[in-house]
């Protein structure tokens, strides 16, 4: 078997690494960069991924896709996407089953397919670096990703021609990348991961070679992009007040502004003041308009983004409660994700945990490094280390109207399995529907619907006399499986699964087929 690479498929940036001998190498692409922007663009000739896609975003905003991770596993009408729909230059539409897809040039693409293009790019330059075929990978996801989001990530891997050996939670990967297993000291870690699109907080115990996740929490809609957006909104309003023009109507201008704000945000992590300068950003009645702002101070930025920073607290507190751990019992706090460079975020983390976070962690690469290390565990190159992760959301079914009955509570170590017995509620009822949900709300309508299982062929008997035995399993990747059988005969009733989101098997096959490389290098000859 060849090497298993570790891939951090991020909202804003992605990274791929591999274990070589006794160390981990973060693989660079042809341009010499170790980080690949998670941007995909469609031009008239071609499809661009990464740096080149990002660079031409300003001139091609409606056909450049960034932050596709935000759409993975989501429904188009999700309230979380409302803001995104307003501000994204590319069009977000609903697929036949309600999933969020994007439309470019009158063609529709699912987020799995776009993500696959990014994965494929990394697969290609990893292959170039290693000089051998790469077919297996570990792909990371935010710990707080639900089942639909994980399935979508798996599908993306398949489309890209990768056998995804494991879907790994990013904070757990970070803990592994941090190398707690190397100095072999037992410790409790808190991984504080604020990336481009998501926030995860995970509390883990490392003991005797075993990384055991105690609790995880987070917000899959809180990330660097939101911080950028804070600045963007401020400047748009400012511009409107000064010039009476609404920049949001102009996709090009908006894209330029967004890029500039991202740059300014990064500058403000080091300098107290940043400037934004966008000449010819728009046109007014009197002629061209320019956006110039010399005095963007860190204080202003902190003010604008204060509500976002506040949102970091509650998930941390909840995770610590669920882990039965107090801040003083935590040995190390690891900061992961580019956004943890922002001083206000670092201060918040310090305030929550009562200690300075650990330095010496590369927040952009550590997740990929951890994923590669997990690859080594799987191939057996690294032994005596194992990760025990948990499911982040409670799993349950709908009973009685809108009520959620929990079958597997959140933060249960996976893989795990639970069985429950149910009775019919009508005479002669010969089928039952099990609607499976993930979430913490007592009402199913506020949780994520994973799918419906219909069990048919039950014997017709009066109410309450037919019993159905249902087994819920969450595998080591955090994906949910449900099987059931009618108890008195021991026979299994026919089970049809209607998953609520994702690609059908046929769609997946078609899209994979579309992207399957027909051509492979002839021995010794590499494509230019």
């Amino acid at each position: 078997m060849g090497k298993i690479v570790g891939i951090d498929l991020g909202t804003t940036n992605s990274c791929v690494a591999v274990v070589e001998g006794d160390h981990v190498t973060v693989i660079h692409n042809q341009r010499g960069n170790r980080i690949l922007p998670s941007v995909v663009a469609f031009t008239n000739e071609d499809c661009l991924v990464g740096e080149s896609a990002k660079r031409q975003a300003v001139t091609n905003p409606t056909r450049t896709v960034h932050g596709i991770k935000r759409l993975m596993g989501r429904k188009a009408d999700s309230e979380r996407l409302v803001e995104l729909k307003k501000t994204s230059p590319y069009q977000i539409v609903a697929a036949a089953n309600g999933d969020a897809w994007i439309r470019i040039d009158n063609k529709e693409y699912g987020p799995q397919e776009i993500s696959a293009l990014i994965l494929k790019e990394m697969k290609d330059y990893a292959q170039d670096y290693l000089g051998e075929e790469v077919t297996e990978a570990i792909v990371t996801v935010p710990a707080y990703f639900d089942d639909s989001q994980r399935q979508a990530t798996r599908a993306a891997g398949k489309i890209a021609g990768l056998d995804v050996k494991k879907i790994l939670n990013e904070p757990t990967a970070a803990a592994l990348g941090y190398g707690a297993h190397k100095d072999k000291k037992n410790q409790v870690l808190a991984v504080f991961d604020l990336g481009g699109g998501t926030f995860d907080i995970t509390i883990l115990r490392f003991e005797d070679g075993v990384f055991e996740v105690l609790a995880t929490n987070g917000d899959t809609f809180l990330g660097g992009d939101d911080f950028d957006q804070g600045l963007v909104r401020y400047l748009v309003k400012d511009f409107m007040d000064r010039h009476g023009t609404d920049l949001t109507k102009d996709p090009c201008a908006l894209q330029r502004l967004r890029d500039a704000c991202e740059t300014a945000k990064k500058e403000l992590s080091n300098a107290p003041v940043a400037a934004i300068n966008l000449p010819f950003v728009s046109v007014g009645p009197a002629g061209p308009l320019h956006l110039q702002h010399d005095g963007l101070s860190r204080e202003l930025f902190d003010q604008l983004t204060a509500p976002l920073v506040e949102r970091l607290e509650i998930p941390c507190r909840t995770a610590m409660e669920d882990a039965h751990t107090k801040p003083e019992q935590i040995d190390q706090v690891l900061l992961v994700g580019g956004m943890t460079r922002v001083p206000a975020v670092q201060r918040k983390a310090e305030a929550i945990f009562g200690k300075k976070p650990s330095k010496g962690v590369n927040p952009d690469e550590i997740v990929a490094v951890g994923a590669a290390t997990q690859g080594a565990i799987i191939t057996g190159e690294l032994s005596e280390v194992v990760l025990l992760d948990v499911t982040p959301h409670s799993l349950g079914i709908r009973v009685v109207e809108d009520e959620m009955s929990i079958v597997i509570p959140k933060n249960t170590t996976i893989p795990t399995s639970e069985r429950k017995v149910f009775a019919t509620t009508r005479d002669d009822q010969d089928f039952v529907n099990i609607e499976v949900y993930q979430g913490e709300s007592k009402l199913v309508s506020q949780n994520t619907h994973l799918g419906r299982f219909t069990l048919g062929g039950l014997p017709r008997k009066p109410v309450g006399q037919v019993y159905v035995d249902v087994v819920f399993t969450i595998d080591a990747d955090g994906v949910v499986h449900v099987t059931a059988k009618e108890m008195q005969s021991g026979k299994e009733a026919s089970v049809t699964v209607s998953p609520s989101s994702g690609l059908t098997t046929r769609q997946l096959e078609e899209i994979t087929q579309k992207h399957r490389p027909v051509v492979v290098r002839e021995a010794g000859i590499h494509a230019p």
Partner: protein, 534 residues
Amino acid sequence: MTKSDAKGRVLIVDDDAMIRKALARELGPEFEVVQSSDYAEAVTCLAERSDICAVVCDCNLGSGPNGIELMKQIRQRAPGLPRITVSGNVSEELGRELIATGVAHVVIAKPWSNGAILDAVKQHLLGSRAERPTRVEPVRACPRVEATLPARILCEIWGHAVELQTKDISIGGAFIQTGSPPPLHSSLELSLRGPDGSSVRVEGRVAHIVSPERAGVDGRPFGFGVEFVRLTPQQAQMVQTIIDTASRPEIPKQVKAQNKSVTADVARVVKRLDPAATPKRRPNEDDVLQRLGGELASLKEKDCFGVLGLDSNADAPQTRAAFLRVSKEYHPDLYARYADREIRAVATEVFIILKQSYSKLSDQVSIERYKNSMGKPAGSVGRAESEPPLASAAPVASMHAPRVSSPSSLDADDLFADVEQTEHGHQPVLVAPLVSEALNHIAHGRHGEAIDLFKQALDIEPGNTKAKIWLLVAEARRLKVSGKIEECVARYKEILGLDDKHIEAVQEVRAFHEEGRRSRGIFSRILTATGGGH
């Protein structure tokens, strides 16, 4: 080969000497016969001899454990040994239940038609001789073709033909998708229809089963593997034709189109990359799978301490260390490297058992609680799989969302209800899982265990009518199987006292009155013939 090897040896168990003589007469020409008159003798005989190839046994064995108990014992110790039950007072339902629960392979009512017992022994014998019980190996080494073909299965256990579908097929056998497979080693007849309309009927035997639980973990289809037996040359040829038509490769159109668009300036070789296609399982993977399967089987027999490799004196630090140690050996990630995904699936089952056992022993309080429960009857000990995880203390954190207590009246539009919630409202956690598990035992015919659990549930909550009724049902069924019809009917009448619309009770009491009339007739016949009595 000695003469005794040429003829198989059949054990006959019946307390009636005349019946034993009759059975010996029928089987004698083709088999050597060994006779026992009661449970104890039969067990001794089986313990002393290793050459018994089939057992024919009456339900009623006088005093002491009855024939059903004997069959169950035999099933546990020698699952492949053909078991044929002969009985004078077995109803059709009971017979089906015995077969469905795997207690007996065949049930034959007395008086039996001439040669029926001999046929039954011969048919089931051939099945078990072909089995190699020591190895779990894939039955078919021949190349398989993935094909969803219609398959019409006629299996004695089911009684009628069932239309199912194959998942794959080879010249050696096929895999049939269904959630309710017939018992292992059952004989069946299979009619396959090929994609071009050709069809063939073959005989087969159930070689292995993939349970819904295992399938649920891995997302693969559940069902059973059929090994074709005694294929005639014509049948073999027809099967091969079906395989050939099913596997004819189609050249995908896209590949053709993309070939055309290849630019000419670089010479390229056309090759399909398909990393998702699983390569054939390599030899060492078979060993791994077998080892894991064996481990899984042995773990299921152990209590929580045993699962972790400890004795019951272990304290919390020891259970923790043991859990960490077994995690590093059996976590499914460590088996993700293998091409065959079943390996990871089995490892997942193993790991879940380890985890559930540890969660009962994760701190001193839990350990004490578990040790106290260990004294109780078998049903309550172990990884009661239907029991939801109790909120165990750190380090295995599993905090519960508060249990939802629902009103006891339900909306008419509901299609679904949670047993625990509709019947018990806000019950304490302990009762409901006991009832669920007990129901599970009933479904599998384990009446003894079910009775124990219902009794426990009633200890905790004496007013639980539902549990009381189920207890009576379990007792009644058990009594029926052991032939104690009067007591059985008495139980059903008790049920009717609590719930006069209880369907099973109504039917059984009615059937008893009718059957009573019939069976008395048979008894009188045998009484006059033998001069003795049951």
